[in-house]
Every structure is written in structure tokens, then in C-alpha cells.
Symmetry: C2
Subunit: 137 residues, 2 copies
């Protein structure tokens, strides 16, 4: 994630302690935090950080393509730092745990031309659902 900070600086970002902390909190694999969770973890390191700054920073990271926004359930959006490797999501219907997964083939290819309604289709997001080992009966 330190290269992230480098990339951001190269793009003219002002490197504040708040932005640094938000970027650090988002580091890791299979990380899918809500804005509130990001704020809570950031505040553990930098108590004065405000919710507005967390929202601003997350929005900027999404715009820059460094973080993905994942809307899985109509509740809070989640933020996924794994933006540079194509992947999909597997979600536990029991506890809500989320894993990054890599299906075979290109999901876009499964949509025939006569099912595209004249759209210029550019992306396909797949959400797999099931029960994780802990939630299985």
C-alpha cells in the first residue's frame, strides 16, 4: 500500500495524515470495510479524524481507480482496495463475510448480442452467495 501513497503523490495529492491513515486502514487482502468501519479504525490511530474526511478520501480513491465501491446489499457501501486485479465477490448469506474470488472465463462473453438491447456493455460484476464453513449447518 505504500506504493499507493507514492502513486497518489505523483498525481498531485497532498499527503495529509488523514489520507495516510485511511489508505493504511484499507491495506490487505479480502478487505471490504464500510465507510463507518474505516472511520472507526482510522480514529483508533488518529482520534480527531472526521467522518466527512473519510467519505471525501474514499470518494477520491474510488475516482482515481485505486479502490472499488461494492454495493452488495442495499445497506452501507463497502470499499475494496484490491482494484488492480480483476475479481468478483463471494458473500456468506449467514454472517456477511466477503471473499475475493476469481471465476474462470469472461462473464461478459456469456451475454449474447441479442440480449444486449443495443447497450455498449463494458463490465460484468458477479456476486456469488452461499454459506461459509462457519455458518453451514
Amino acid at each position: 500500500m505504500s506504493d499507493l501513497l507514492e502513486r497518489l503523490r505523483a498525481r498531485g495529492w497532498r499527503l495529509t495524515s488523514q489520507r495516510r491513515v485511511v489508505a493504511e486502514v484499507l491495506d490487505g487482502d479480502h478487505v471490504h470495510l464500510t465507510a463507518d468501519e474505516v472511520h472507526a479504525r482510522a480514529a483508533a490511530r488518529l482520534p480527531e479524524i472526521s467522518r466527512a474526511t473519510v467519505y471525501n478520501t474514499l470518494g477520491e480513491l474510488v475516482t482515481l481507480g485505486e479502490v472499488l465501491e461494492v454495493a452488495t446489499d442495499g445497506r452501507a457501501k463497502r470499499y475494496d482496495p484490491n482494484a488492480h486485479r480483476a475479481h468478483q465477490h463471494l458473500i456468506c448469506s449467514g454472517c456477511g463475510a466477503i471473499r475475493d474470488v476469481h471465476p474462470q472465463g469472461d462473464p461478459l462473453a456469456a451475454l449474447p448480442a441479442d440480449e444486449r438491447f443495443g447497450f455498449a456493455v463494458t463490465a460484468a460484476e458477479v456476486t456469488y452467495r452461499g454459506l461459509c464453513p462457519n455458518c453451514r449447518p
Copy 2:
């Protein structure tokens, strides 16, 4: 959709005018209304209907498997009455228009066992994104 009302009555639903109107509003193909839109259209026919009742009824229809909840963007959930024929969604990134589409093959099959992390995977939702004919440059 009138068979819907029959099915519901058969399951012990009390058939009130409010529930009837909500079910009628949801009738049709490519219908993906938000709860607020459902309330607005229902209120056009039954002015005193309350938001709470619309939310209750939509929730019951989802629980009964008669309507699907579609969380496409982290904003309001949408409700899709086409619950009895498997389908996926194609969404315009420009105007937000939604179409039901039918991709080839089973998206579940694309997820290899070693990418399932021990989950019992039961469903896959695919959201295709692109620009509709009106929003295309």
C-alpha cells in the same frame, strides 16, 4: 399478476386493498421500482396508503419469493416482480435504466472448487454495465 394474488391468498394472506395495489403496481416486464416509486404509484390509486405499509408489503413479497430485491448501486433498493424466471440485470451507467437479461450457461459453473473457500455456494447474481442506446455518444 392476478395469479400472484391467488397464490398469496392460498398462503393465508389477508387480501387488503393496500396489498392488492402494491402487487398491481409491480406488474410487468422490466419493472424495477424503488420503494418510493412503488409508494408514489400506489398512492395514485389509493391516496391514504402509507410508506410503512409499502415497505411491509414489499418485504413480505420478498420473503415469499414472489419479488426480488435488487441492490444495484448502494442507493435505494429496487423490486423486481420477475422472480420466477432466472435472469440477470443490465444497467445503463448513464441514466440508470435496467433491463432483465438472460446470459448463456450457468454463472455458478465458472467458480472452481478451489475458489470457493469451503462455502456452500448456491447463487450467482450478475450485473452487466454499459451505456444504453440513448446514452451512447
